[in-house]
Amino acid sequence: MVALTRASVVVTDRSSGGIAPALRVVATSKRQCESGAVKTRAGGRVRATARALAAACALCAGPLPWLDAAEVAAQAPPVYGDPGHGKPVGQDEPSAAPVVTMPELKQFVEAIYPPEAKAQGLEGTVELEIVIGPDGLVREAKVVTPAGHGFDEAALEAARKFTFVPATRDGQPIPARIRHNYLFEIREEAPPPPEPEAPPPPARLEGQIREAEGDDPLPGAEVTVTGGALTGPLRALTDAEGRFAFDDLRAGMYTVRVTAEGRVAREQEEELVAGEATSLTYRLAEPTDDEAFSAVARIPPPPREVTRRTIGKEALTRIAGTRGDALRTVELMPGVARPPLGAGVLIVRGSAPADTEVLFEGVPVPLLYHFGGLTSFINSRMIDSMEFYPGNFSVRYGRKRGGILEVKAAELPRELIGVADLNLVDASVLMQGPISENAEFGIAARRSYFDVIFEAALEEADIATVAAPVYYDYQAMATWRPDNSNKLRLMVLGSSDELALLFQEPSDEDAAVTGDFDVETQFHRAHASWRSKLSDKVDQDVDVSVGKDDIDLGLGEAFDFNLSGIDIFTRAEWRARVTEKVRLIGGIDLFFLPGEYTYIGPPPTGTENDPDSRGGAGLTNRDQITVRDDFVTVQPAAYTEFDINLQPWRVVLGSRVDYYEEIDAFSYDPRGSLHFTLSESTTLKGGIGIFSQPPEFYEAAPELGNPELDPTHTLHVSAGFEQQIGEQVNVGLEGFYKHMYDRVVGTENGVAPYFTNGGEGRVFGSELLVKIEPGGRFFGFLSYTLMRSERRDIGEDWTLFDFDQTHMLTASGVWRMGRGWELGGTFRFFSGNLDTPVIGSFYNVTGGQHSPVYGDVNSQRDPNFHRLDLRIEKLWKFSAWNLALYLDLQNAYNAENPEGQLCSYDFEECENVRGLPILPILGVRGEI
């Protein structure tokens, strides 16, 4: 049981000549004051409410915490006129009446509860009249309404010790008389309320905006902060010294955007830490003209990975030679080799294409490009950015030992956008826009009409086109943010490529190549993602993707492969800030693929260094096996990663455990990286880790391969530095080494068990990347890789990997010329692809065809590859829409670029086959 006192105050204006109640406020407890649950018994002046509440609460707890000082300040002091009129005089006659303020209790004194009354459970209210002098001290106090039982004395004794802010008239202190109800109450003692969780100490974001040229402070710039736990954007203008500050922010990731008239806007991701002030200095540049790239320079936070190469939206669609296709810009990156003509695969640091994963919003997709690598599977405007990890990637990514290409979906706009693109290869449409205040949508579709050209080309050939090559893709997305802590995204996407030919007569090269030739690949996905902030310290991502894969390749009766499966991928990831300097990331994922397949054809062989497996021996000269089977691939995994930030050091340590049901094997991959910030513009970095990958499907499938195989592993080691030069130029240099072990290789002569884990490999080299970020009228890249990739099979010497390319150079730039003209160019130089010479042949007298005999594997190269691609675009801006006409000229100077050799029927004579000739692609694009 506890005895409580409470107070009420009746404010009067003695100067008005009476004790007229103006406002009665009862504050029953300190907590009520803090919560604002104070009862008011208004007797008149509404405009006095805020201030009266403040006064009442001051009796028990000081100023109301929920009452904004600005609000109080905004209210004019009460002006007491004729009490009988109940109307503020000052509003109508501001100069006719004096301005009076009431006294405010500065210090409240708790009365001593009379012991006897308390023992008897008595309660009471003593009404007092208190006279307060101009100095705020109590001059006089007397009981107006007694309560007896010792309450009157106790109340008087306490009241005489009150101190006040005196009342004023026209700003001058004056004496005042008030009435005060002193309440004595006894209540059952409630259990102490639980201590509310102490809120995390707030973070502060402060900084200074300066001119890029001259470094002078830039006043009047608008700084907008979004993200984190904010319900809406926060804005501030920089002061005369260009400074700004935001206090009381919760820890988290924020987007800071700075705009100023006549300057190129800038946007940057910043991570705020609880209890810490993050100080920034941004420099804004003046655009050279109104046609400068308007893209905001986006600078991501320091990567956890040793190497993360990001290409932003502005650059993605403007590179020459890509036909404006965003994903083809990955070909510009260091470490990415040039695939053979039409292969459309990603070869990263000498790894086989199957060693690199492509993910869209965190979920793997089975292909990157449509037929021939001309076009990727997704509309470029559905992409925000592309992050490419050529090695030493996070434990978040598994089952691959080469590289990772993660494609980020675009943030859908709040205004309605429509784009239609028509060129000589395909046509596409796109629409994006809002659904409601917190939801957006985006849809896109594309279809090729290459079939028309193809049919014309085949008119003279002994081929009847059953279904000309056609590809299409589609994407639909919707995002919904039910509140500030949750974001849901639903996506449906798919891609299809189909080609069917009917050979009316057998090919001159192989009698087995006759009849139907079908190639069909399709995938469809439904993907739901949920990003949520579980607390100030914990974020959660959940992804569920369900789809269907269909692959069908048929070549008459001699070869048939078709596979159909339900592709399921799920991932749940949690990111927690353990301490101010340590973040913990944990996750689980599952790849599940039940399906069935049919294989009719030659026994599969190793993936590397077997020229016969490239088909040199033909189908007629090879055995044929038939396998039909169901399969279930189940690959669960779990991973954790610590991100320790000890400025200037940053250490990332992670580990990943995978299980591969099809071979009943585990793998454990520890990985780590280290960053050292040498200066504001220089970072040193390095990493080491193990990367495991299950055998390929055919290598471990019963009857086709060896189910007893183990996973393959690769040790990645890399080190380098990044140097920022000015605002736009970034230079990165990196060296890397990869050691592959437990590589799967075919057995000698193809005898059972057909495949073993006895191979090894090594790749080493260095990569240089110079990026000029969009800004002004130019942006560009220069990338160069010098590397060597080798393998060694059981008992063999080291030989080069099939995709080894010593030199890889790409230079690309885009220049806005003005008046809507934009010119881009990309020059590429690559070492020629490897080849294995034919040194003779055997005539298969049974089958009637020759089989080649090869010399040293990969002992010769095609001539070096070099090509210049140009792109020119003219944009017309109208009031409601834009129109662009563009020409993408591939292989502008018509370099021959041999792509392998063509040999006679007996392999006695061979000649080079030229690559893609000059190829102009004209297109038109409309944007609403």
Binding site: P506, T521, G615, T846, Y905
Partner: protein, 387 residues
């Protein structure tokens, strides 16, 4: 226009054939890459200057006819039987003479699974797996190389109790194999070389295995053959019959060519022929249509359906429209007759002799091979006088 894009064609579909393409997540780009490469090949593979497969410009091997002792029509020997493998040859001129040729063959058990490339004798594989050396298996091979001239008559070696044998033959390339009664494999492998001139040899540690010493510019033609062994009745196969084949030229019957000794002079055939000779037509340059007919019922049944029939027409002069003509087993033909046409485009310039005098006429020979794609083989010749 000739299409002879052998390597590129198969490189193009390589990703499909090679194991890497079968990876569930790696197959799609590879297959599609193959498709595009094939498409490019079809379009760009034309207009090459590479030799054509159907033109006989040097000594050529056309195929091999397997005959079982006692049943010469049968191409599938049973264990314990003796077989002969006759390799059909062709020369661009009548001067070409197989009588100068000599050959070496190794017979052995075919490997159980043959993923591609050059098949290796199972006996060698077994020896290698057990750690044995080549000369343990082929003890006659001295210093890693064996010439036919080193083998004593009858120039034949057989490893007792196995299918392994080495033999050298002169003149017509004919390999003779005695299958052991306990031969259990499904196929016999024969590797060897036919030397137009010179001394055949085997050098097991060299990539090409076989060669010809003292060839004097003659051809060294390496051969391989996989002969199906009849382990059960359903395996039985016979060589295709020539009686069921009818060849027409411009709609007229075209009889088999006369015996070699009855053929007119190659460079002056006109005076020896008449226009209505069904065996030796006299024609003028210009496109000619050749019609191939085969009696549908003459095809042997295999697994409940007539076997496929593959026909190739070779010529010593001019250009054939295509290399292969295939009558599918499922094709019933019309009125019991399978029929296909192909064009022969003779040269407009008949050439000149060593003295620079233009030929007034040229004898042109055609070699027509039939394969049932199960090991059965037959060959027939046609001839005409181009003037």
């Amino acid at each position: 226009m000739a299409r002879s894009a052998h390597v590129l064609a198969l490189d193009g579909i390589a990703p499909a054939l090679r194991g890497g393409a079968l990876a569930v997540d790696g197959i799609a780009p590879a297959l599609r890459g193959g498709a595009l490469a094939l498409a490019v090949l079809v379009v760009a593979g034309c207009d090459t200057d590479l030799p054509r497969a159907t033109e006989i410009v040097s000594m050529r091997l056309l195929g091999a006819r397997v005959e079982v002792d006692g049943d010469e029509t049968r191409a599938t020997p049973e264990p314990g039987e003796r077989l002969r493998m006759h390799i059909a040859t062709a020369f661009p001129t009548l001067e070409g003479n197989i009588g100068d040729a000599s050959s070496m063959f190794i017979g052995c058990t075919a490997p159980e699974r043959f993923p591609g490339g050059l098949p290796i004798c199972q006996e060698l594989i077994d020896a290698a797996l057990s750690g044995a050396q080549v000369d343990d298996v082929l003890p006659m091979v001295e210093e890693r190389k064996l010439n036919c001239s080193q083998l004593q008559p009858p120039r034949r070696y057989e490893e007792p109790g196995t299918a392994l044998s080495v033999q050298c033959v002169a003149n017509e390339p004919v390999a003779t194999i005695n299958l052991t009664p306990n031969f259990e494999a499904s196929a016999l492998l024969i590797l060897g070389v036919v030397c137009e001139r010179g001394d055949p040899f085997i050098e097991p540690l060299e990539p090409l295995l076989f060669g010809c010493d003292d060839a004097d510019g003659g051809e060294a033609l390496r051969v391989q053959a996989t002969i199906a062994v009849q382990q059960k009745e359903a395996d039985k196969n016979h060589n295709p019959g020539l009686d069921a084949l009818t060849v027409l030229r411009e709609g007229q019957d075209w009889e088999p060519a006369p015996a070699r000794e009855d053929l007119p002079e190659e460079d002056n055939c006109e005076g020896s022929t008449t226009g209505d000779d069904p065996a030796l037509h006299r024609v003028v340059p210009g496109a000619h249509r050749i019609t191939l007919q085969y009696e549908a019922d003459a095809r042997e049944e295999f697994e409940g359906e007539p076997e496929d029939l593959e026909i190739t027409v070779y010529t010593t002069l001019g250009e054939m429209e295509r290399r292969f003509t295939v009558f599918e087993g499922s094709d019933p033909g019309e009125n019991g007759l399978l029929e296909s046409e192909l064009d022969w485009d003779p040269p407009t310039d008949l050439g000149e002799d060593e003295r620079g005098i233009e030929y007034q006429s040229r004898l042109v020979r055609f070699f027509i091979t039939l394969r049932d794609q199960r090991g059965g083989f037959a060959v027939t010749e046609r001839a005409l006088c181009l003037r």
